[in-house]
Amino acid sequence: MRYLPLTPDDRSAMLNKIGVDGIDRLFRDVPHSAVVQRSIFDLPDTQGELGVERALTKMAAKSKVAGSLPFFCGAGAYRHHVPSAVDHLIQRSEFLTSYTPYQPEIAQGTLQYLFEFQTQVALLTGMEVANASLYDGSTATCEAVQMAQRITKRGKAILSGGLHPHYAETVETVAGLSGTVTRSPVTPGKAEDIIALIDDQTACIVVQSPDVFGLIRNLKPIADAAHAKGALLIAVVTEIVSLGLIEPPGAQGADIVAAEGQSLGVGLNFGGPYVGLFATREKFLRNMPGRLCGETTDAAGKRGYVLTLSTREQHIRREKATSNICTNSGLCCLAFTIHLSLLGEEGLSRLARANHARASALADRLADIKGVELATQAFFNEFTLKLPRPAASVVDALAEKGIVAGVPASRLLPHDKDVRDLLIVAATETNTDEDCDALVHALSEAVA
């Protein structure tokens, strides 16, 4: 086996040094009846690189790759171009094969990029502090709700109907244990009157912008109303590139921002791993979940970085920790941070504008199709269409033709009859004019 350096002679010599006559003696505490033989496993034996590569390449070829066809799915995961430098850098041994930076003297590389990442996230979201990332946007939203429950000592969380339904289900599953979670009605393309739901039992209001139907939401009035009742506003962002063009949640009064960072550096990956962004106000710092990296100096007076404020975390506080999470999304934050560093202020702005311009032009053309209406008037790079027939069947019909038209809203909300004809379409800088032509053409045919 190419990954195992010990030879049979080494093994004998080592057993000899240990003073036992066989490897079985080292497993003496295992109950005899629980020891199994190789033959019990219906699994193959060791295989060389060539064989493994052949088998997996064949398997992977059974998927239709997003980059190989006109592709317009978003709804929480967006296809963007990732510069080549990103993947090269994250595969460097010193980043890829290092552990959590618990020994700061020999982990300044990881610690400094975490500090840069925290700064970038705080700047993008317009918040004062950000952590070193959580698993993904949905779990970050869940952590945000639990944090708001701790801070306000209230249990009730109100989720906007525009919050991604998978996020809402994740929050209900976990934060529902520490309080009550209610969802406001789904109003595709329109802002619901969520303010009316806020009362003095409310811990937090969770509003996504742009929301799952693509609508850009004005958060300021919601923040003001929440604060008037002693509740917190949690802003959720699933398309982080949008913050290159639209006003950040921090500037609109959000208390906590939970976001998905997948759009920068990470790629689609069939749903994971992604990178959860988490930012808040300084006064809530000690209630924050997740790792934090801080600046300090070493014994020789040089600037350096360490993980800090760990007393919030499980390895010290155990059952009293702010969260049970004991990891971040290290390599994905590195990818995020490198991509954003490559873009810089100018690149991010251009990327965001390119996305909006692409989506706006496509929306206009699709809305011109007879029977198709544009349901989202204010959006970034994603919008919702109302079709004259169920969107799921249209998506299936177009998939047959090699076009992935978007996500039918019914896939996310199967019980809501009102969304049956809605199609959520995302367009990014990766969509070409030919892709858009193909979609317009095929959709015209499908709804005719």
């Binding site: 007393t311 010290i316 506080r317």
Partner: protein, 124 residues
């Protein structure tokens, strides 16, 4: 002259009339290492004997601080927020955590004396 008693959770409490001052012992401060954060209770809060009243943290450790005797908080040591190092420098003086009023002398009398506490620490 006030009298000082100790708990097995490493708090000290000094009683003056029916007013008590509470902190953590020198031993507790040494065990924690450099204290970096202290949360003290607000005035007006009522705590029972053995109830959680404050939190003290170092970089690698954290501990709840319990009220050795019941009473109403009259003051938390606000200075510790800016200068948590006081807990290490002078744990049984400037590094006090909070003051209580309405304290029962009987509860106080049940706690360890200095000699008993020193013996207790030796046995750990």
């Amino acid at each position: 002259m006030s009298e000082v008693r100790y708990t097995d959770q490493h708090e000290w409490v000094s009683l003056d009339g029916d007013t008590a001052t509470v902190g953590i012992t020198k031993h507790a401060a040494e065990q924690l290492g450099d204290v970096v954060f202290v949360e003290v209770p607000e005035a007006g809060r009522k705590v029972g004997a053995g109830g959680e009243a404050a939190v003290v943290e170092s970089v690698k450790a954290a501990s709840d601080v319990y009220a050795p005797v019941g009473g109403e908080v009259t003051e938390g040591n606000k200075a510790l927020a800016d200068e948590p190092a006081k807990v290490n420098a002078d744990p049984e003086g400037d590094g006090w955590f909070f003051k209580l009023k309405g304290v029962s002398k009987d509860e106080f009398a049940k706690l360890m004396t200095k000699a008993q506490y020193d013996e207790f620490v030796k046995g750990l």
